[in-house]
């Protein structure tokens, strides 16, 4: 009886870690402009951090061949020829970590031409850490039948 009660408590703790809405620091939205150089096969800068609610403009400058920039999760994209900077403006209403990647085949390593956009805090990562920690505690508390 006590065992299943502890297990229930444990599962609920897991759900809380995974889904409980946490108070997020509200920072006034700003306008941010980033010039991103694209080459075979990397962006520069490749890691960008903004706050949630910002209006972000990416100026994509291709420096060798035609490249694109597609943002996972936001499903927006832009493509630029060398000599023609292209702009993409969007509002960062979804917090978290999102990869952006090239969406114009630009050579062999094209599928791995990736950058990372972090909006606000990457809360999901911390929740995942929490779940992993909880999992270890769970395994240690209930070692299971000895072989």
């Amino acid at each position: 009886m006590r065992f299943s009660f502890s297990l229930l408590l444990f599962v609920m703790a897991g759900l809380v870690v995974a889904f409980a809405p946490l108070p997020v620091q509200s920072i006034a939205p700003r306008e941010r402009i980033f010039r991103i150089d694209a080459r075979q096969y990397a962006y520069s800068p490749s890691e960008i951090h903004v706050n949630a609610g910002d209006t972000v403009t990416f100026e994509l400058v291709s420096t060798d061949v035609v490249h694109g920039l597609y943002i996972d999760g936001y499903d927006v994209s832009v493509e630029a020829d060398p000599g023609q900077t292209a702009t993409l403006t969007f509002t960062t209403n979804k917090p978290g970590s999102f990869r952006f990647r090239c969406n114009v085949t630009c050579g062999a390593m094209h599928p791995f031409m990736i950058g990372k956009l972090t909006v606000g805090t990457n809360l999901w990562l911390y929740r995942a850490f929490g779940l992993a920690g909880l999992a270890v505690i769970g395994v240690l508390m209930w070692p299971g039948p000895k072989a």
């Binding site: 061949v65 020829d81 000599g83």
Partner: protein, 329 residues
């Protein structure tokens, strides 16, 4: 052996032979023109034969990055060639001759070298050929490689708006002639205005206005588009000679200087800076047209003679001056 074994073996062997043979046959019977970055080979094949009046059906594929196809002097819509996919183009030529086809999406610093030829034979269906014009700089006897620095530059950017107001009180009849415009640099026209009672800045404004009257908003828009697609990668989106390939050009220039042991100044090896008033205000339109037509003689400047029509080049030339002059909207 047992029948089941025999049939199974036959099926397997047939399957394998078909799997190897069918795609091989289909592959051999699909004549594709491969587009690759110039360093990897450019167009393969790079010469095509055609007949006047007969539709030429071409199939292109890119083996690496985004490329595009267009034929020079035809002012045709370019066709994108996506990596791994096939693009179909059908062309019909009315006049015989050697046409140049070229890549229309920047594919590296040597993108402009990616060219090929279409040899069209047969009799022209469009009447007699006009005799080829000789370029203006040739008929004027101009040396387009000679330096063309303007000794005087304006203090601020000349404005065609102000120029129009100033010009109302002047008799500009001969100064706005297209023939004079093409053959004279802005500085030379500026000098001609010394006879008026205008201040230097006002004279430059009038020059800007004269330059504006020698073009149209459509031409400037066309020139802007041509510049963005063909020139900005080296000359910079702001015209300052700082395009994404400017460093590569400088490095290549330095290397060729060292190997050629030539006396060409290193400034010739970086893309021209159109925001430099000394350089642009001392340049005649005919000189700029000549440089675009003929290209660089050892610099990285491509020759566009076989690619742009004469109208396209004049539109481009008109646009280049807009880095120096403020035109009316």
């Amino acid at each position: 052996m047992k029948r089941s074994e025999l049939i199974s073996r036959l099926l397997i062997i047939t399957g394998i032979l078909l799997t190897i043979g069918a795609p091989l046959y289909l592959w051999k019977s699909t004549p594709l023109i491969h587009a690759q970055m110039s360093e990897e080979g450019g167009w393969t094949p790079d010469t095509i034969k055609a007949e006047v009046g007969e539709p030429l059906h071409l199939q292109f594929t890119s083996d690496d990055v985004m490329h595009g196809f267009a034929v020079g002097q035809l002012d045709m819509e370019s066709v994108d060639i996506e990596p791994g996919k096939v693009a179909d183009v059908t062309l019909t030529f009315e006049k015989p001759g050697i046409y140049t086809f070229f890549c229309t999406r920047w594919c590296g610093v040597n993108h402009w070298r990616m060219r090929g030829t279409i040899e069209v034979t047969g009799t022209s269906s469009a009447g007699e050929d006009l005799p080829l014009d000789i370029p203006l700089y040739v008929s004027l006897g101009l040396d387009i490689d000679a330096p063309h620095e303007s000794p005087v530059v304006p203090e601020m950017q000349p404005s065609a708006v102000h120029g129009r107001t100033r010009a109302e009180n002047l008799d500009l009849a001969n100064l706005i002639e297209p023939a004079l415009y093409k053959a004279s640099s802005p500085y030379q026209i500026f000098q001609q205005l010394d006879s008026t009672a205008l201040l230097e800045t006002e004279e430059w404004d009038v020059v800007a206005y004269i330059w504006q009257t020698n073009t149209t908003p459509e031409s400037l828009a066309n020139g802007r588009e041509l510049y963005a697609q063909n020139c900005a990668a080296c000359h910079g989106e702001s015209g300052a000679g700082d395009g994404v390939f400017a460093d590569d050009m400088a490095a290549a220039g330095k290397a060729s200087m060292e190997s050629m042991n030539s006396s060409i100044e290193s400034m010739m090896q970086t893309p021209a800076n159109f925001t430099d008033p000394k350089r642009v205000l001392g340049a005649r339109p005919a000189i700029l047209q000549g440089k675009i037509l003929r290209g660089g003689m050892g610099t990285g400047m491509p020759m566009w003679g076989s690619i742009f029509t004469e109208e396209q080049i004049w539109d481009l030339v008109a646009y280049l001056y807009s880095f120096q002059f403020e035109y009316e909207e």
